[in-house]
Symmetry: C2
């Protein structure tokens, strides 16, 4: 199977529409139809159910979509890491570390300082991204190592070392009655009248959209809370950056957050090993 065929199939499987997929790929529709037919013939498997009005994935097609995305990521990763290995010799970064914007600030700077002080330390670039993007960046080679937060981020398929565990705190407007309490329970802060959460913690530890107003950054969230328009539950670490008009109260029964350093298992470079070692020594 060629990566071209995989890319074509993934595009069609995502769009479920040959015309749009062809447009996205920058080719005409007929060659795309033929390429998919050829792929099906070569695999001996029907991947798509087409009527002349709609396209749907077969079970096998769903498998190829999932596995094909992973394979394309792996191919991309091979190219990116190779290029970076070469450019590292001419001033590029040797390692790219990615973390969610607005998290692990203290821990990260301590880690970078500790690593930079080591013998043989190499250039480390830091990349900030939105939630859920880190794993993608690791898998497709744009990053080499990440700071993740269990159980929010998935660490499936990654090697990890635990760095720190912390509880979570509820963020409320300063002066709210509950801020007088020494600690809270989840039941106290979910569904506070007038203070909806922009997101809620699902039972499996991931965030899902809640009823509160949307926000784009931590600053926005803090401002919404200070204005008495929202509340939130976040790891303790956020207390370091809170404005004065937002109060934090520990939530005893919120799941514990573990910060881990994670990397793709097959890319065990010397530089990466050094960084991981520095991290575990913190």
């Amino acid at each position: 199977m060629e990566t071209r065929e995989l890319r074509y199939f993934v595009a069609v499987a995502e769009e479920l529409h040959f015309g749009r997929a062809a447009q996205r790929l920058g080719i005409a529709q007929p060659p795309l139809s033929r390429a998919i037919q050829q792929l099906e013939r070569r695999l001996g498997v029907a991947l798509l159910e087409r009527t002349s009005r709609a396209v749907a994935l077969t079970d096998a097609g769903a498998v190829l979509l999932r596995e094909g995305r992973a394979a394309l990521d792996a191919v991309d990763a091979a190219g990116r890491r190779t290029r970076r290995a070469a450019h590292a010799a001419t001033g590029g970064p040797d390692l790219v570390l990615v973390t969610k914007a607005g998290t692990a600030g203290e821990l990260l700077s301590k880690l970078l300082d500790a690593y930079a002080a080591e013998a043989g330390a190499v250039t480390v670039d830091v990349l900030l991204c939105g939630p859920g993007e880190q794993e993608k960046l690791l898998r497709d080679g744009r990053a080499d190592v990440a700071l993740l937060h269990r159980p929010f981020d998935s660490t499936a398929g990654l090697d990890t070392e635990e760095l720190r565990t912390e509880g979570q705190v509820a963020l409320l407007p300063a002066g709210h009655p509950l801020t007088a309490r020494a600690h809270l329970r989840l039941a106290d802060v979910t569904a506070l009248p007038g203070l909806p959460m922009p997101y809620v913690l699902a039972p499996d530890g991931t965030y899902v959209d809640g009823s509160g107003p949307p926000f784009r950054s931590h600053e926005q969230l803090y401002q919404l809370i200070a204005l008495g328009r929202a509340s939130a539950v976040l790891p303790e670490e956020c207390r370091a950056h809170l404005p004065r008009d937002v109060a934090a109260v520990p939530v005893l029964d919120a799941p514990t957050v573990t910060t881990v350093i994670a990397w793709p298992p097959q890319s065990r470079s010397r530089a990466l090993a050094g960084l991981v070692r520095a991290a575990t020594r913190l």
Copy 2:
């Protein structure tokens, strides 16, 4: 990057010889030279140092060899799993479980029985292979799930659940003086005069070749031990199959062996989840 180019590069990088690589790939040498040049041009990276007498990998080339193998495995896996997903509907196996030949017999049959008794159980094929091959089979899609033994097998990049832990025993000819002891230490059995080990446990838990005679199967190994030509250290579980003329004595300070069930993180099918659940309930 196309998989064809990756396959070509991996062949050359492994052979370090364009002629042999071309032969292995079933093409002539000139197109291979050109394909590699084109790959280097497209990546903008020198992958190979060629003199007219020898070929060597550059640092970037070594990265591409490692990452490229993983990417090719992922592409193969996508094709194999897709084909299997389709053939499962027409009588093929839904899941392929792989384990090292000669290990986990008792545990495996209990697992298969327990799973088969579940509602919604699907066909499970069992594949036996040599040491170190299981991870490869999982990564390239020939198998879906494996029984591995830590610390001998690497579980990097796999999701795992622990099933059982056990100590290790020294295998000696029946009647050997040490068989009178209730337990031993590693120091007692390494370098026994006249009883060399065909392999030795390296400090990191992997096997490396030792000074003893080579063997191809557990039966051969047992026979060598019975004849007084070798000794070995194996997980306790092997006691179930030992012939009468081989004695087993626990080795207190040998590393504990953990049997785990492992699967590639992105292939979380319903059938696989059921099998894993059955395994953890054992």
